[in-house]
């Protein structure tokens, strides 16, 4: 458990830096809010209609593909820790794993799902 103490220190340090950055600019910065300043800005024009519009389903495929390859990387993590002990065997099994996912990658590519039309 002790070797994970570094994570706690990083969490504390990074939240301290985040709080400091936001906090310092909050206390030192000057704010004179006006009605015009608080309006949503859209190319200098007054906004028309609801600001939250529906977004194309095309974005969803990128989110899905990111999720899948994220899980692939997660599988690589315990493999990378012990890859020296596994020797060639570990290399071959990870190779097969990646080749199967590479088939999927080429399928996506061939289907043109990575292109923006």
């Amino acid at each position: 458990m002790k070797e994970y103490l570094g994570i706690l220190i990083i969490i504390l340090l990074s939240s301290l830096v985040a709080i400091l950055i936001v906090g310092i600019s909050y206390f030192l910065g000057e704010r004179k809010p006006k009605k015009v300043k608080l309006l949503p800005y859209e190319c200098g024009m007054t906004t028309i209609g609801p600001s939250r519009r529906r977004i194309s389903v095309k974005y969803y495929i990128f989110a899905m593909l990111f999720l899948i390859f994220d899980i692939e990387v997660l599988f690589m993590y315990p493999w990378a820790v012990i890859t020296k002990d596994l020797k060639l065997f570990g290399f071959v099994e990870m190779f097969i794993f990646i080749v199967i996912l590479l088939i999927g990658y080429f399928y996506v590519w061939r289907k043109g799902a990575l292109e923006w039309e």
């Binding site: 458990m1 994970y4 609801p50 939250r52 529906r54 977004i55 389903v57 095309k58 974005y59 969803y60 495929i61 989110a63 899905m64 593909l65 990111f66 999720l67 899948i68 994220d70 899980i71 692939e72 990387v73 997660l74 599988f75 993590y77 315990p78 493999w79 820790v81 012990i82 002990d85 596994l86 570990g90 099994e93 097969i96 794993f97 990646i98 199967i100 996912l101 088939i103 999927g104 990658y105 399928y107 996506v108 289907k111 043109g112 799902a113």
Partner: protein
């Protein structure tokens, strides 16, 4: 002794934070705010996994749930309209009553499970149990076949995503 006290403090903060953030997540009106509170819930759950010596699960909780799945949630919030008129809020529909009944039933089931399995007596497994090294040693030797099958499962996921979201050429 100091370590036990330290663990108790961390457990206390993480468990209170997870309950608080999940209540905040349910009660927010803005769906994006709910999603952000859900990130806090996921991360405090990861801390609880750490305390149970399941470090690999904790790391995957942060990478997959707080990272990728939350992004997927945010995308879905953006994809569908969630702005409802004031007349739809607080209305008793059949699906809402069904959801309440189902939630209460599942909660009772959890309580019964906690009682019968005496969950308060469960102790975490000793240290090298859940860290990436032990998980890797089992996953890449004894459970090699399920690992390779997982890649086929991910392949099916890729194809499913493309089939669902890709507009077919006419």
């Amino acid at each position: 002794m100091a370590e036990i006290v330290f663990k108790w403090i961390v457990f206390f903060i993480a468990s209170i934070l997870s309950i608080f953030s999940s209540v905040m997540m349910v009660t927010r009106k803005n769906p994006v705010h709910s999603a952000l509170w859900l990130v806090v819930t996921f991360i405090s759950l990861a801390v609880l996994y750490f305390l149970l010596n399941a470090t690999f699960i904790a790391i995957s909780q942060v990478i997959v749930y707080a990272g990728a799945i939350m992004m997927l949630f945010l995308f879905v919030i953006m994809l569908i309209h969630l702005e409802k008129g004031p007349e739809e809020i607080g209305k008793m529909t059949v699906s809402r009553i069904f959801a309440v009944v189902l939630t209460v039933l599942l909660f009772v089931e959890i309580l019964v499970g906690v009682y019968f399995y005496r969950a308060w007596t469960v102790k975490p497994e000793p240290m090298p149990f859940g860290d990436p090294k032990t998980v890797g040693k089992l996953l890449y030797t004894k459970y090699l076949f399920p690992f390779e099958i997982a890649s086929v499962l991910l392949l099916v996921g890729i194809i499913g995503a493309v089939v669902l979201a890709k507009r077919r050429k006419m």
